[in-house]
Amino acid sequence: MNKRFGGDHYVANIISAEILLSRKEAANAIGVNEKTLHSYLDIARLFLDRFKRFKSPNGGVCGSEKLTNWDIPYLKKIWLMVQKHGNIQKVAVLMKSNPELFDSIDIGSVEEEFELNKKLKIERRKAS
């Protein structure tokens, strides 16, 4: 039993890292619908190296390319930025000028911020 790292189960979770996700699964992980996820991918593929594989030679998002669980934190970061700036086009402009803001992220802090923002959004919705 590896107590230092939270047990064998945790170790296995780290190792079985790359899991292919369908668009629906990925959208559920971020808490948005598939159309919104598509729009995130649409801007991410143009400016972020991680998502360049979604670039199709005929334009648009490459449909056959799969998302993995490793992409989720980066998409969550985009979601957070959209919430902050209120518009996906503004985020696209920001992404073009500062791609490192989206590319090199601290996954732990992004997850925390994401959870917090999701909770706040739900509370706001309930209040209204």
Binding site: M1, F5, I14, E18, K55, G59, G60, Q89, V93, K96
Partner: protein
């Protein structure tokens, strides 16, 4: 000239032109009927030339004006690269399984990074494209193997726990036996002492 006309002229898809223009200027929402600014036209032409997809569509143009294309590896080299990659991957996988067995997290992470870097550094775009599916399949297999190994690890641990429990039991028995023999010797000693008295 609007995007649609430009796409017809360059023999490529409207979507491709829109993508390129969006990457130049994301603040503007580009449509097929949008006019292409003069200052972007030159950059756009360079991009269209760069992509070999537009070449394949315009075979006539290709024969008349040779265009720069991405260097493609010949099949033999590609096969060799795939074999090499497979070998590397196999070595890394074995090391990864070994590390998993010994539960060295830092080493596991290092190996995973090495694996990713190996892919990025060694091969060009074309090879990566070919290898991508292969790797995805292999990942699934490796995951299954890791899961099997984890289960095996668990059973081994259970076996080890049982073994240690048995050993503990044995030591308890031995202790009670030694106590018993001590008691017997004490009894003999007492009898002897009584006899002396």
């Amino acid at each position: 000239m609007n995007i649609k006309e430009f796409a017809t002229m360059a023999n490529c898809e409207v979507g491709f032109i829109i993508d390129e223009l969006t990457s130049f200027n994301p603040a503007f929402r580009w449509k097929a009927t949008s006019e292409i600014p003069e200052e972007l036209k030159k950059d756009l032409m360079a991009r269209v030339d760069f992509y070999p997809e537009s070449e394949s569509q315009s075979s006539e143009q290709q024969s008349s004006t040779p265009r720069p294309s991405i260097k493609r590896a010949d099949p033999a080299t590609l096969q060799e690269a795939i074999a090499q990659r497979r070998e590397n991957s196999e070595t890394i996988k074995l090391a990864l399984l070994d590390a998993l067995n010994n539960q060295h997290i830092a080493y596991i992470v290092e190996l995973a990074i090495k694996n990713a870097l190996n892919l990025v550094d060694t091969y060009d775009d074309v090879q990566i494209k070919v290898l991508h599916q292969d790797i995805a399949q292999r990942n699934i297999k490796i995951q299954a193997q890791i899961e099997a190994l984890r289960l095996e690890n668990q059973t081994q641990q259970i076996a080890r726990t049982n073994e240690s429990a048995q050993l503990m039991g044995k030591s308890v028995v031995t202790q009670s036996e030694s106590q018993k023999s001590l008691q017997e010797s004490m009894d003999v000693f007492n009898i002897v002492m009584q006899a002396i008295a």
